[in-house]
Symmetry: C2
Subunit: 390 residues, 2 copies
Amino acid sequence: AERSAARLGCAAVDFPVAVVLPAGGSGERMGLPTPKQFCTILNRPLISYTIQAFERLSWIVTVVVVVATENHDLMLNIARKYNHTKVKVVHGGTTRHRSIFNGLQAFSNTTDSLTPKPKVVIIHDAVRPFVEEDLLLKITLAAKEQGASGAIRPLVSTVIATTSEGYLDHSLERAKYRASEMPQGFLYDIIFQAYQQCSEFDFEFGTECLHLALQYCGTNAKLIEGPPTLWKVTYKRDLAAAEAIIKETLSMSACIIAGAGAEAVELAKMLQKNLNMMETDVISCAKESNTEYLSKTQNFIHISMSGSNFSGVPEMVKRFEDIGHTRLYPLVVVWVQLNMTKQSVDSQKTDELTAFMGLASEVIQGNVLLYGIEINHSKVIFLMSYHYIC
Amino acid sequence: AERSAARLGCAAVDFPVAVVLPAGGSGERMGLPTPKQFCTILNRPLISYTIQAFERLSWIVTVVVVVATENHDLMLNIARKYNHTKVKVVHGGTTRHRSIFNGLQAFSNTTDSLTPKPKVVIIHDAVRPFVEEDLLLKITLAAKEQGASGAIRPLVSTVIATTSEGYLDHSLERAKYRASEMPQGFLYDIIFQAYQQCSEFDFEFGTECLHLALQYCGTNAKLIEGPPTLWKVTYKRDLAAAEAIIKETLSMSACIIAGAGAEAVELAKMLQKNLNMMETDVISCAKESNTEYLSKTQNFIHISMSGSNFSGVPEMVKRFEDIGHTRLYPLVVVWVQLNMTKQSVDSQKTDELTAFMGLASEVIQGNVLLYGIEINHSKVIFLMSYHYIC
Ligand SMILES: [Mg+2]
Ligand SMILES: [Mg+2]
């Protein structure tokens, strides 16, 4: 689905699209000192996942991130560390609406070549990291056609109207209502005009961009149902939920590097058969010609037959660094050492073990999680560096 | 807060209260083969956590769990395994409302001594495990007084009305509306009468018990704002969120058992000072006289000075089994061995390590997670059995 969306995206979106990402909120509701958009999941700030969801799409030109002044440097550092080249950081206002307006104004400054005026602007939340290309395409195309569009979800709870004394007045008929979510899309001229015209009351108490487009420009937004993963990371528990989703996604594919030895190839084939829940590729080496396979996944099983005891690991890690593969997600390497010859003595084993553990604790600094398995004809030694991916 | 609620509960609730827990739903939305209420968190089914939230309260007499026929035996086994003595299992209907009505009918059968007719009945969801005594008290007392009561939460998203063509019609003013959640409380006679009178349409398409009480008995429910942890475990990611909450709760206290040796007592005091995020007790032994301390927490640090190498572990584990402490939550025991005398030889160390690992893999069957730390004057050996509590 993602791939066909990508093909469709390049073809259908022949106009400039930009994103405004308000990230000015404080983390009060989380019960955490850090605002939630800067909390880390697998060692990376939440907002970086959200930015990447847009930045990976060729048809999105610019991502304007609106942050509180005190987080300006933090945000610049995040953009640098995770190579977010499409990001432009601007300062937020005292409310969500003021922050969004500040973000939109960045495009009206025609002297900045990083922020040319877009045809369509997508407004999203920094704390909704899981947004897929197919939904973004639908939102963008509907905004181009109708002037405004927004993601919706069915209501999870019955909505009730309350009396002023705190009693049930009536309950709403669920089928007629929807929860308004993000992302939302707008013709830039429409949403910018709406914000230019709206009142102080709107800036202070308004919550809904779609409502402003309707009130000030008469634009009825097209509503598009999104998946449940659009939910907003709000509470501390949501960080655990987001981590679970990321881990599950990362665990869906693997690449097996098997060299040329007959036993290694046999083992690779057996593994591929048994890993039938994952999409697997088997290749013969981690050389440049295989970059396509190396780039497809974050999980690698390297089966080695040489007696050289993990000496190939540093070279392999270097290769991943070269293709920038460890920047966004941790990389899992399981190094399988097949020793079909006679066993080495126990003291030698202990030295190898110590060396491997040292290597593992070194490469983890570069976001590589290294595990080792040594298979002798009589026994299996499992060397675990760090348990990360469930 | 919990303790004062408990005192208040015994005093204020001088009438019989029962619970109906509909657990008939299927797990479709989770993308899982198991219905979500039977999915396990830390090796225990979700529904057992929910049952325990009620069963621990002295003023709640009975918990009627309504399950699909095919899950009857599974549910009985869960009740047996986790010692849910207040549970009565009844069969569900084809909709949520039919299941709740079946649950309520269990109390109208006056020949069953386990289910005497209650004054107030609380209706809850099997998939909302985190419900605290103070909220249950408020719901119960309001139901007694007003006839009906229900937990509410602020709306997390703007609610919008849609046109039949899928466009925005208008957005609701958020302040006037609330999300209706669970638990809800009713005078038994009112909700039973409402269900006896309601139509086939209500049974088939209705969602809101509060609405039935209003429509058929003219009872306006009192609405009570609950905490965010009332949320419904709906998606697979919610299981990870629930696990994070349970782990956090379990990590809030510890008991240090330090014996009489001067170095052990000193280490215990130092630990207590440094574990200032947790509530800690220091006691001298795990004997019967200290059951009060042992029962307060799931986390134990045992500091041993004898040279007898973990020989006290099985006895300690037996003690926890005797007080039924490992039934509901995993127990974490960190065994600290202080060896102030000269070091033993390396081969002896290896044997001890092997023995400890064997012991750890044995006691984990009984829900005890055993970690070991050996402190010699020159080096620290860390023996990890299983990483569970973050
Ligand atoms: Mg935000
Ligand atoms: Mg249910």
